[in-house]
Subunit: 334 residues, 2 copies
DNA sequence: CTGAAAGCGCTTACAG
DNA sequence: CTGAAAGCGCTTACAG
């Protein structure tokens, strides 16, 4: 910047004013500075800027697994919002581990970011104070009880209830809910919707917890069917789990939907043309990302934001993976 | 840091020495400093450190689309390597657009990173000089001709040739190659392998270019089948394109594999249990990520690295989506 | 083994 | 409308 200033015959803070587009600068000196910038090939140094400004124009996004397509889509929609506003989105991975979550947050903090978006790890130990240091902090996808922080989620209980009823209405009574980890807010909120719907129909809840990966769900299926051979339908907690259920059914020689009807929670592209196309609760991931990003921007600007749940509703896409259950004697009996 | 120094009764650079673990410090003062650090709740400021050290302990990863599972997996494997070495991985999105690519690179440069990994955009205008400013720069997944930079790729021509021969060997002669964008190195390298194999068998190449998205490939299928109704097999350029082919076949009422056999390039979890399970070229994405990260670390450490292609071989997973073609009159004729 | 000084590249008050 | 001074939080030489 000093080189530019010397070249243009002005002071360094005049260069700074021109570059930031703030404060009064005459058109003439402005042109001189701009010419000098290209002449000397000046490239700004964000580190120097951040050190003096005490805030880096960067927002962190801490998620549990980028290989989960839901989080990839979330990252994409948030990044698009921030890029337009000149903010960099910094992706951080917690691997769904509370210790890694803390470390990554500490790392992010050392960069003095302007804000933070977190999908908390399963047994997250994050407190309101941990997040307070970030100024603008918003939870997304998963909420944390007892935390005075805005959270963007979907209407999980209602959507899960609707998914469950679509199976009940087709005549199913033995419906397995293949959920995520016990203790995750997503699990408990979706489980609540499932239990409520199943209970209202006088059926017995059949709940299975997994590590919310495809491999974990796949391994859970044989166990579930051994414990309850009369299961005729299943609900998949997220896209990887829904994949895992299909893999597990294939492993034990069962077909979807003839032997087991299936409803997924969270859409994936392949579900639309899978044979059969999978009935699924579509989470509004783009809208959730945009809203979460907007809440961070509001907090940065000092606009008041309600702590607590900000709910974006999901939609049940009825496709072809739900049919009436087969007769009670079809397995082993024929 | 000054507060810590005052609290411990030492100078600031003694604190710095203790914190960096460099230089000689007596055990006694070391203990005093550490005690002061916790006492005053000191948190390091990476911005101050980076400004003075002229390098930020951060490596950029510029990809074209995080929603592509290949890139998500690549990010994951690279991040794991760097985290162990205390480097932060900064994910940047080019949207496969050369202008955005330039802007994101400029943004990254302003943070004075230690290194850079790029999967170049389709018609990338990046030059050796553009990358030279980053010190340690490595290309990954896509290479760029005429660039004196190390590139980590898979053996695309050979793997694509093997995929093509698996269809030829099953008796197919009308094999559609549904590729990515013309001009991308991945497209030309995979196309070369396809043309070579098809030519060796005396068959006619049937090449279709797409934007390498599922939607683009899906739209291309009806056109391809109208132009060549005798197509009996297809090869999908990447996982989204393979998805798009299946969706397109379903759109026009054709089944896989009875009507059209299919081989994919790049694996995805659902392909293992899709009915039929999809025969696919599995790219060694984790190994590619680890190698690319290691090359950056070597460059950072000053270890010499060969510019040019570093090839990690792919594997053809033979599953059930390839069968012998049906009789010549099956469509429209019966 | 430890410290006083200088400076990385910017921006923030404060003058004029 | 423009500039001289100070300082953001560290680390890098250089002394001792």
């Amino acid at each position: 910047m000093k080189t530019v200033a010397a070249h243009a015959g002005v002071s360094a803070q005049t260069v700074s004013r021109v570059l930031r587009g703030q404060g009064y600068v005459s058109e003439k000196t402005r042109a001189k500075v701009l010419a000098a910038v290209t002449a000397v090939g000046y490239r700004p140094n964000a580190v120097g800027r951040s050190l003096r400004a005490t805030r880096t124009p960067m927002v962190g996004l801490l998620i549990t697994d980028i290989a989960n397509p839901f989080y990839a889509a979330l990252h994409k929609s948030i990044e698009a919002v921030f890029r337009r506003r000149g903010l960099t989105l910094m992706l951080l991975n917690s691997d769904d581990d509370r210790e890694t979550e803390r470390q990554q947050l500490e790392l992010l903090r050392s960069y003095r970011p302007s804000g933070l978006l977190v999908a908390p790890a399963v047994h997250s130990s994050l407190t309101t104070e941990d997040l307070a240091g970030f100024g603008a902090a918003v939870l997304v996808s998963r909420s944390l009880p007892d935390l005075a922080v805005p959270s963007v989620v979907t209407n999980e209980p209602e959507a899960m209830g609707e998914a469950t009823r679509s199976l009940l209405d087709a005549g199913h009574r033995r419906i397995a809910a293949v959920l995520g980890p016990q203790g995750a807010s997503t699990t408990s909120r979706r489980e609540a919707g499932y239990r409520e719907a199943v209970g209202a129909a006088g059926a017995e809840p059949l709940v299975f917890y997994t590590d919310q990966t495809g491999a974990g769900a796949r391994a859970a299926i044989p166990h579930a069917l051994r414990a309850h051979p009369d299961i005729t339908a299943a609900i998949g907690f997220n896209a990887p789990v829904t994949e895992g259920i299909l893999a597990g059914l294939r492993d034990v020689g069962l077909r979807c939907p003839q032997d087991v009807s299936l409803v997924g929670f969270t859409d994936a592209p392949w579900m639309a043309f899978y044979p059969p196309p999978i009935t699924v609760v579509r989470q509004p991931v783009e809208a959730m990302g945009r809203l979460a990003a907007q809440l961070v921007l509001d907090l940065v600007d000092g606009t008041p934001v309600t702590a607590g749940l900000h709910v974006v509703p999901s939609t049940l896409l009825r496709r072809e993976s739900v049919v009436a259950p087969a007769g009670p004697t079809r397995r082993g009996g024929e």
